[in-house]
């Protein structure tokens, strides 16, 4: 498996669990805390990616949701049983309220499968929820979870190593380096697939996230409207505030005007930001892809590869379900004796 962010790591875990006799190595140039995933607050919420079929987004996301719920309740599946306790510290039950101006985004198909998804459409609802009243606004709320990659990735790594999965820190320069007839490659390299395999459909949407200590914020707040886009996601040790997003910008340099912008837009939805104590800020590149998430088997002259990349800003949300899909693909391969 190439890539040790949330996608590669959960994929390696689910593969090893399903096929314990399989010899697996997890190869990446970066491990936590230096992966793209480490920047994420880890808030579960599927985003409508115009290119990935909605039913797949739903299917994969809900698998992750149910995983988080089962760990939180301590009724984990056999599959996650021995790691559940250690993961718990990185998983928080958090309710969230989000404001939007587009009615078409309300009641997405996944809303029926999460806990207590509710839509608020009256202007009085807005003031009641703490937003300034606006006729063109809608709000939705639901019970969700945060799964913080910075906390859970090391937990997964420890389990993988303990169970014989080799963790290798090295940069694979080209997919052809690793394609072999007797080996299966799982490509979870995110944006790295652009260089690794020449996928020109990949493009970054940079996200600038600020981490700050804010007392008294236990609830996720987001404003999804384009002009006022902002979010505050409580994490274990601090709150994650975001974001300034730029398409096709490959730079990860922090621009301080953007810091001001983020604090200002976040303060508009949460006055507590006024007293926030900055902890850190970073820019990460979301691995977005024209054509949607690439998740399928490809047979090349030198070997087979299962691609699992291009999750955009929904890596954490999609992770468990996509990892499950990779497992299914391999299962089918073995059944049909193609390997």
């Amino acid at each position: 498996v190439i890539g040790a962010g949330i996608i590669g790591t959960t994929t390696a875990y689910r593969l090893k669990k399903r096929f314990p006799d399989l010899e697996i190595s997890l190869v990446a140039d970066l491990f936590s805390p230096n992966t793209t995933s480490d920047l994420a607050a880890g808030w579960w919420e599927p985003h409508l990616d115009p290119d990935t079929p909605a039913h797949l987004v739903e299917k994969w996301s809900i698998q992750t949701y149910n995983l988080l719920l089962s760990i939180w309740r301590s009724s984990p599946d056999q599959e996650i049983h021995d790691i559940a306790n250690d993961l718990k510290q990185g998983i928080s039950l958090t309710t969230g309220t989000c404001v939007d101006s587009s009615e078409s985004d309300l009641n997405p198909s996944w809303s029926r499968q999460v806990i207590n998804y509710a839509v608020h459409t009256q202007p009085t609802d807005m003031t009641r929820l703490g937003f300034s009243e606006s006729a063109s606004m809608f709000a939705y709320s639901f019970l969700s979870f945060t799964m913080e990659p910075r906390i859970v990735l090391p937990v997964f790594y420890r389990w993988l190593e303990k169970h014989g999965v080799q963790l290798q820190e090295r940069k694979v320069l080209d997919l052809r380096e690793v394609l072999r007839p007797e080996e299966l490659v799982v490509n979870c390299t995110g944006l790295g697939a652009a260089e690794l395999d020449g996928d020109t459909a990949l493009y970054p949407i940079s996200g600038h996230v600020v981490r700050a200590k804010i007392s008294g914020l236990n609830h996720c707040l987001a404003d999804n409207r384009e002009e006022t886009w902002a979010y505050l996601i409580p994490n274990r040790e601090c709150t994650v505030l975001g974001s300034v997003d730029t398409k096709e910008n490959w730079s990860t340099t922090v621009i301080h005007e953007n810091t001001e912008k983020i604090l200002k837009s976040c303060q508009a939805i949460c006055p507590l930001v006024k007293e926030a104590e900055m902890v850190s800020e970073l820019v990460g590149l979301r691995p977005c892809r024209r054509g949607g998430v690439r998740l399928h088997l490809e047979t090349r002259p030198r070997g087979k590869v299962i691609h699992n990349y291009g999750h955009g800003g929904s890596g954490v949300t999609l992770s468990w379900g996509c990892a499950g899909e990779v497992v299914d693909i391999l299962h089918q391969l073995l059944e049909s004796q193609q390997i």
Binding site: R73, N116, R128, H219, P271, K274, E275
Partner: protein
């Protein structure tokens, strides 16, 4: 005209709130708080601090306490300085296995901006599945008692008040125009009130920053504050033991972890005991004792933090009546 003097006995949440209200309303009056214990060693400090009304109202009196208390905290919330005031908003789940009235609360429904009954899936958030038949979710107020008491102390001093540490053995000792009795459990002796009985509570404080919502399941509660999470509790009637009882901790912990397993990895910081000053309902009224005018404001049981603003506003009104009628006597 001599400067009027008001002495407040007790510097728990009720005493400090009363003192603030009187001193701010009457800057000319000399207000002194006499107290045996100071934060962090008061009973108030033990409380997890969550606003969830359950107090009985004395018969024949209008129920202003709840609304006054809620509005007081909402004002403090609006200052958006939770690390100064100790007040923040908190999402909370209340579950009950047997009794809808344990969690459903008409008063909270009328006060909270977000209040709703739980869905079936939510009722299965606690373990085991199927046990909890009733539940509500609301956004209420969390009061970090240590911070809040420091805030009140600071506010009292800024208004010109004084705090003196000393144990008042009898109201006879005190020279003042009005004595405000906020001695909590101490009122059993000071006011000779045998109706006041300790309701012992033991809690465990833990570090579990992944817990963002308050979780109640009948007798078990898990309340995240700004500095730690409080896990409780016990309600031991007429139990005077102030030392930590390990068996209680064991029982509290096992029940809490069984119901909310997300707690299991928490780091235990310590255990504390508080004797709630239990009385059928808080006593807020004037009494002439030993030739002194005493305004009683005690007996809040487990609702001290929550109801202190409301009862203290009423007590301050009584103080006002006494002071102004004294003025007019001259």
């Amino acid at each position: 005209m001599d400067r009027k003097e008001v002495v407040v006995v007790g510097s728990g949440v009720v005493g400090l709130t009363s003192a603030v209200l009187v001193q701010e309303r009457f800057p000319q009056v000399k207000v002194t708080v006499l107290t045996k214990s100071e934060s962090p060693n008061t009973v108030s400090d033990v409380a997890a601090g969550i606003f969830r009304w359950g107090l009985k109202n004395p018969p024949g009196k209008p129920n202003t306490w709840a609304l006054d208390s809620w509005n007081w905290y909402q004002q403090l919330l609006k200052t958006n300085e939770p690390d100064v005031t100790g007040i923040s908003k908190l999402p909370a789940y209340f579950f009950s296995a047997h009794d809808a009235s344990q969690c459903e609360n008409d008063l909270m429904k009328s006060l909270c901006k977000v209040y709703r009954k739980c869905t079936t899936r939510e009722l299965n958030l606690p373990q085991p599945e199927g046990k909890f038949k009733h539940g509500v979710y609301m956004h209420t107020v969390q009061i970090d008692t240590h911070l809040y008491l420091a805030y009140l102390t600071d506010r009292f001093r800024k208004a010109g008040g004084n705090i003196r540490k000393c144990e008042v053995k009898s109201f006879k000792e005190i020279q003042a125009d009005v004595i405000v009795n906020c001695a909590g459990f101490g009122a059993r002796f000071l006011a000779g009130d045998r109706e006041l009985v300790p309701l012992r509570g033991q809690v465990i404080r833990v570090k579990a920053p992944w817990i963002k919502t308050a979780l109640y399941a009948d007798d078990t509660y898990v309340i995240p504050g700004q500095k730690h999470v409080t896990v409780g509790g016990t309600r031991q009637y007429n139990d005077w033991m102030t030392e930590v009882e390990p068996n209680d901790s064991a029982r509290i912990w096992s029940r809490a972890v069984k119901t909310f397993p997300c707690l299991a990895e928490a780091e235990i910081l310590g255990e504390v005991v508080g004797l709630r000053p239990h009385r059928k309902y808080p006593r807020v009224e004037v009494e002439e004792m030993f030739g002194k005018t005493v305004v009683h404001n005690y007996g809040h049981c487990g609702y001290g933090i929550m109801a202190s603003p409301g009862t203290s506003i009423q007590a301050a009104d009584l103080v006002k009546d006494i002071l102004t009628s004294t003025y007019s006597k001259l």
